[in-house]
Assembly symmetry: C2
Homo-oligomer: 247 residues x 2
Amino acid sequence: MNLILIHPHEPDSAGLVRLSGERAEHIRHVLKASSGKTLRIGLLNGPKGCGTVESVSGKEVVLQCAFEEKIPACPAVDLLLAMPRPKVMKRLWAQLAALGVGRIILANAEKVERYYFDSHVLEPDFYNERLIEGLQQAGDTLLPEVRIIKELKPFLEDDLNSIFPMSGKKLLADPSGEQNVFQALESAEAAKILMAVGPEGGWTPYELELFAAHGFKIFHAGPRILRTDTACIALLSMVAEIQRREI
Amino acid sequence: MNLILIHPHEPDSAGLVRLSGERAEHIRHVLKASSGKTLRIGLLNGPKGCGTVESVSGKEVVLQCAFEEKIPACPAVDLLLAMPRPKVMKRLWAQLAALGVGRIILANAEKVERYYFDSHVLEPDFYNERLIEGLQQAGDTLLPEVRIIKELKPFLEDDLNSIFPMSGKKLLADPSGEQNVFQALESAEAAKILMAVGPEGGWTPYELELFAAHGFKIFHAGPRILRTDTACIALLSMVAEIQRREI
């Protein structure tokens, strides 16, 4: 935990927050903080700030919260991911939040098994806990928005334009692409990016055509075939680093 | 498995190999291959090639192997990683091999717990199996070389120069760095790169000075604090992509 996230309903009118559970444990046993010590905190979906320890007991930790005015900028990258095996997705939530994504769209694809969508890893209580874990690791406050799409085609045809700006850049990594990620991102500068990552076994030719018809630029991400989770981390971090350089 | 790895001692003098266990299972149940089908194969630490299925039975799968002449190029990146928690390292082996690293150096550091080095995840039988899993995923044949370094200082002082070329570039990601990864890699072109990744909590100022004194260039990898495994994947994939662009 490199930042302790406070939920908006938690501080009282005087800015005091009483923590129990995992966060209190962390303050007591990892940070070993006592009265007077200041800790890095953040308001979920709000600004970062500073928490001064008022008291520490076996029952609770009381912090006096002071938040900055500025809310961190939303990550420039959204992710459209063919739903991976639940075991892989379980591990991926925290890592995606740590890397920083504005939106996580989990979509069906021909090579995705239908039963993946019945998994408990897609329940908001389950994934929000892991997303928050990733934010606290990375020192961020902005919870990615999660969408679950069981029909890819109508989503691309009808819904994508309403949630992703026309000025943004849509990318898809596939061995059939001719450009590399630098060429594909050229002149994207600070624009919003949507990165599509396929299932194990890849998108089908029909799906690739569908994406291309909806403005996705297909690029190749090198000769190695990566597992979904490794590929997501690799692609998101590359794009973030290129974006940071452009700014 | 995007490539089936054959060990050098397995083919007989006629180039026939008899597979049982996991690889035979994969050929039978995932690839559903029957006689005459050709499969992508590779010789461990040797060339890739093509395996023609001669026969499939419940007991074994027999392949006729034909290997190319050319051995794949060794990855341009070596990794020096402060030994992570065994649970994290367990998951990381296959991912590192899939991303492609020439050498994995697991080193001690002030913020590494001594008992991490007693873990079974550092036993060659354990990690080689996972490294091979990663190679078979990525379609590569070159097994990373693994070194375990319990004393960082004498390694940097006495041993590093003998295993890492003087012409190579040594990089270390730390928030204290002033350049970004593009600036740090500038003009590295196809040179060999050694990437150092610190423990949870980072290298100490003393360790940072030690690395700097031994030619490591310190760069910053952005404002987010990543878990060791996420950071390794992010940094290795960024460097590989930049290297690919230069070639």
